[in-house]
Symmetry: C2
Amino acid sequence: MSFKEEYQRKVESTEEILRKYLPAREGYQKIITEAMEYSLMAGGKRIRPVLMREFYELFGGEGRLIEPFMAAIEMIHTYSLVHDDLPAMDNDDYRRGRKTTHVVYGEDMGILAGDALLNYAFETACTAFDQEPAKSSVIGHALQILARKAGIYGMIGGQVVDVKESGHSISADILDFIYRLKTGALIESSVMIGAVLAGASEEEISKAESIASKVGMAFQIQDDILDVTSTTEMLGKPVHSDEKNEKTTYVTLKGVDESGREVERLTSEALEELKELGHENRFLNELLEWLVYREK
Amino acid sequence: MSFKEEYQRKVESTEEILRKYLPAREGYQKIITEAMEYSLMAGGKRIRPVLMREFYELFGGEGRLIEPFMAAIEMIHTYSLVHDDLPAMDNDDYRRGRKTTHVVYGEDMGILAGDALLNYAFETACTAFDQEPAKSSVIGHALQILARKAGIYGMIGGQVVDVKESGHSISADILDFIYRLKTGALIESSVMIGAVLAGASEEEISKAESIASKVGMAFQIQDDILDVTSTTEMLGKPVHSDEKNEKTTYVTLKGVDESGREVERLTSEALEELKELGHENRFLNELLEWLVYREK
């Protein structure tokens, strides 16, 4: 089986889990469960839950304890997109070729669907306490990581600075802050939660965090490079959008060549650190390489 | 000390706890911590955290384990007000005589401040795991209640139906659903979390839920009555607003007299159930009476 086929299987298995944890479409509040499903099941690479399970298995995790957290991380990623697309934010009517949630359900329901997904992420993750009551302590640790990395010291913090600085030319320091928090934090929390729930040591958890941090940064820089070097057909979305929006990116600060070298450096360091963890995993190696050297 | 003085002291102690758990105003994302503080420290009755601690102590709870959850429930209540006030929702420029969060910080930051408060509520509640690692299992149970009652089967669910039905005449069934979820659910979760963290039995937790459910409903009906019978000076906000907005309320469905009898019935049942719990608590008795017979 090729890497692509293997990845596709893992995406399908992730989507089955998402479906399983989605709330039933019933009751007077049915419209909100429809809006949640509309946004959550809109496709996407499902990178975070796939990475989470890979790291869970890398550290010897077995069984279904990881599943509510896989669903939770994707719900959090999705709510952030739903709120990002709102008229007061990026004001996007389309995402991945489909109308955005607020366009279909109204702006009020767009706000509430985002709130509902964020809240339901924690509700879903908390079902792990019922699943394995004896593991309450590690589940609590995983929840702390989930909350921290999604909040003002994680994703929301990065989003706040991105919104605040939009339209200004920004320093390399601030750009680094935005990339680390807005993109990096959820990827870090994915692999850390996988490690924690598998019973990894503090040292292993922190190594996993470091790998994810490098992958997240390389992933984001590659995004900047593709916006300059790819074509709209290849990317499935308009290229040169950063230039049009006068956005400061890694490429505008350092140029395409230097950016490419940075992606290579970060990726090879991440792969080296993965090797040092001492668990063989061919798929995970290929996954990290694909994530950063992807062409869309 | 009069009831009013005693309540005021408990409010002050609650606000100290809120301040303690607020994130520091620092870092590139400082603006969001300012917006969180602006909305969270805007005053209010602090009913939910005060009730939470009363029920904690009623069931013998001691020490500070309750504090992160007191902060969390008020953060959740506050985020719901911040998002409620947004232009796409109720579009309110003022709340309690102050400009609303999105008016001061911009609509984008209003959305993000609400998200941040909801997320930070869970982040704050999760600090309880560090405080008392040996109690991970009851802390997990408390988190489950917090998430469930704030979500689509609780507060958000009620808000969704309220928004969806706004401008329509609605049935007594739907009105009951909205009141139980939008107002009742967070009050229920407050007393349940107090009971859970104090180590109460399942039966006691469920009795606490029943008391809170009745108090929440009586509280909301009293709101409807005051809108008809009070004055703007007394209430500190415009009266007859429900009539102006053609809103279906308990009073428009049943009339003022029948509504008053319902408040009395619910309150005396709640007080009776509180007595049956077998723990004397004069303050809590007075609190429940004040909550429903208040004049503003």
